[in-house]
């Protein structure tokens, strides 16, 4: 055994090392966020939301087409991904509870949560773009829906399992069939939790660019036709940030600022709800 002084020194040394590492992590977060705010806030003005892009290299213009396109793509992704996720999660937590099949699906869903988003993009390209011969907004929504689906499914499963069995049994005792128990007892009790899952999956897909590159592609003009290529904020950020013009960079930073703040707001709201559930 080494001397006490040496052991105490080692204790202080490694404790401070861990503290420094945490400060490092926090530093990166603060660095990235302040960077986005400093660069982005100047570009945020009313024109950004209300005007379509000016011709390349010309001053002015906005990103109305990208904001609207992004809303459309996300909206249809939610319509496709969220109900499927909630219903699938219901099966895992209720009808299929304790079955091998449900456990199996649960594990695969967990893996799907972390599968690279770009793979989903290429998959949707093969099934929904290539056969039709052109990119479309719906294909983009489908890709995002596939990414949302396992996240909603897993959180729904977890949240439904938190509802105590005695509640369900009380409803069974009144003679209610299982689906009524699920709708009127389980869903009602777990609605805040399900909402959290939806919010978290939304926060994840709002910032995705990779799955949209080959599905909804891009469009420099204002369009609401989901059967045609449509602009999205993230793909526009990619195009503008790697492009040569300063006005493009300013607008890309502004769009990055808006998108990051939206996502942080959604994530923090979801965290807040979760904390309420855990208490």
């Amino acid at each position: 055994m080494k001397g006490l002084g040496y052991r105490k020194f080692k204790n202080y040394f490694f404790s401070s090392l861990c503290t420094v590492m945490t400060l490092c992590g926090l530093f990166f977060l603060a660095f990235i966020l302040t960077d986005i705010i400093i660069h982005g806030i100047n570009g945020v003005n009313i024109e950004l939301f209300l005007k379509d892009p000016a011709p390349a290299g010309v001053e002015g213009g906005g990103l109305r087409n990208a904001f609207i396109g992004h809303l459309f793509i996300t909206f249809f992704a939610v319509i496709m991904g969220v109900p499927a996720g909630i219903l699938g999660g219901t099966f895992l937590a209720e009808y299929g509870r304790n079955s091998k099949f449900a456990k199996f699906i649960s594990i695969f869903a967990d893996i799907m949560v972390s599968v690279p988003a770009i793979i989903v993009g290429t998959f949707v390209y093969a099934i929904a773009v290539k056969p039709f011969g052109h990119f479309s907004g719906f294909a983009g929504s489908l890709a995002l829906a596939i990414i949302m689906f396992p996240i909603v499914l897993r959180t729904t499963e977890n949240m439904l399992s938190l509802i105590p069995w005695s509640l369900r049994e009380a409803a069974f005792a009144l003679g209610a069939p299982y689906y009524k128990v699920i709708f009127q007892v389980v869903y009602r009790g777990a609605k805040a939790g399900i909402l959290t899952g939806v919010l978290l999956s939304l926060a994840r897909v709002i910032g995705e660019a990779a799955p949209l590159l080959f599905t909804s592609f891009n469009n420099n003009f204002f369009s609401t036709d989901m059967k045609k290529p449509i602009a999205s904020l993230t793909v526009t950020i990619f195009q503008y940030a790697t492009g040569p013009y300063d006005t493009w960079h300013t607008q890309a930073w502004a769009a990055a600022f808006v998108i990051t703040m939206t996502i942080l707001a959604i994530t923090i709201t979801a965290r807040y709800i979760i904390r309420g559930i855990e208490k």
């Binding site: 861990c18 926090l26 219903l87 793979i119 099934i127 996502i263």
Partner: protein
């Protein structure tokens, strides 16, 4: 399980006994059962679909180049239609290794700090803040990397590394060349920052599983705080920590946009960490919509297939490790 028997009894009897507005609750219930089962089955459908589609689409490339020849060949020539995945695979592996080397000590340090060292009041806050790193979209990391981090790397960090570590053997090869900031090293660092929250939060969760009584009985022997962490907590939670690292490895492999900004897309084997090259994901992002020939697109799908299999296997391993860590008994 007792409750499941009770539930079964209730299910069969209640369906018959219930008298309500519906003509046949049992039928509605059966319909809902099938509907939910179908929705959960969609997960399998998507996975099988991805494998099937990428196999089918990459079939011409597989039959043309085979497996070994494809993964080791460094030629990528769309004009003469010769394709090999050597460079993107190498780029993916190197960026992932840099990311892991950078993120592992940080995330374990953070996990120890928020579970053992930080004052109780700020633990939740710091943990939440670190997890916010995972909420920032990868395209934002990419932009930040291109406009902010790359100049810093080119002007300060990389010349500094060349002048210090770069004087040593081996390192002088790794750090050779002109530092431009758009290179493997910067890409690896950005990936490293991105994956910190994944490994840190899983490490934190498994450290929290260490039984209090184990820690207390070790303190009773007169050990220091660090000795308890090193000899009790870390060995106890090693599977979980390792599982978290493997998950973050899977994340780093498949990350696209963050790397696409800072790596260029150059199909040349890098000779130093300060070289621009490409990764599987960057190649896909840049070339997928430009692939005009069938064999070209097919080779890109071959890359998709390889990437999917790699990340799937790695994520499955991490799930197994985390599962094992949760079942660990004293």
């Amino acid at each position: 399980m007792a409750s499941s028997n009770i539930e079964k009894d209730f299910k069969s009897s209640s369906s018959r006994a219930f008298v309500g507005n519906y003509k046949s609750p049992a039928l509605v219930d059966r319909f809902f059962h099938v509907l939910t089962a179908f929705c959960s089955f969609l997960i399998i459908a998507v996975i099988v679909g991805i494998i099937f589609v990428s196999l089918k689409e990459s079939f011409p490339a597989i039959s043309q180049f085979g497996f070994v020849k494809f993964i080791f060949s460094t030629k990528w020539d769309p004009v003469r239609e010769i394709f090999g995945a050597g460079v993107p695979l190498f780029g993916t592996i190197v960026t992932t290794i840099i990311a892991l080397v950078f993120s592992i000590p940080l995330s374990i340090g953070i996990a120890i700090f928020v579970t053992e060292l930080a004052p109780q009041k700020i633990r939740g806050f710091i943990g939440g803040a670190i997890e916010l790193l995972a909420a920032i979209p990868s395209i934002i990391y990419g932009m930040w990397g291109l406009f902010t981090l790359a100049p810093i790397m080119a002007n300060y960090v990389e010349p500094f590394l060349q002048n210090s570590l770069g004087k040593l053997p081996i390192f002088n090869l790794l750090f050779s060349g002109t530092p431009i900031g758009i290179d493997l090293f910067t890409a690896g660092i950005i990936l490293g920052i991105m994956i910190i929250p994944f490994s840190a939060s899983i490490a934190r969760d498994s450290i929290l599983l260490t039984p209090q009584i184990l820690k207390e009985s070790t303190y009773a022997l007169g050990t220091t705080h660090w000795e308890v962490i090193k000899d009790v907590i870390l060995p106890y939670s090693k599977y979980g920590i390792f599982g978290g690292i493997v998950i973050s490895l899977g994340r780093a492999l498949g990350e696209t946009m963050a790397v696409a900004f800072v790596l260029g897309n150059k199909n040349k084997l890098p000779t130093s960490l300060f070289d621009a090259t490409t990764t599987v994901t960057v190649k896909l992002a840049n070339e997928f919509t430009e692939a005009d020939k069938d064999l070209y697109l097919s080779s890109l799908f071959y890359l998709v297939l390889l990437l999917f299999l790699m990340s799937f296997i790695i994520l499955a391993i991490s799930k197994y490790l985390i599962y094992k860590s949760k079942r660990a008994k004293i």
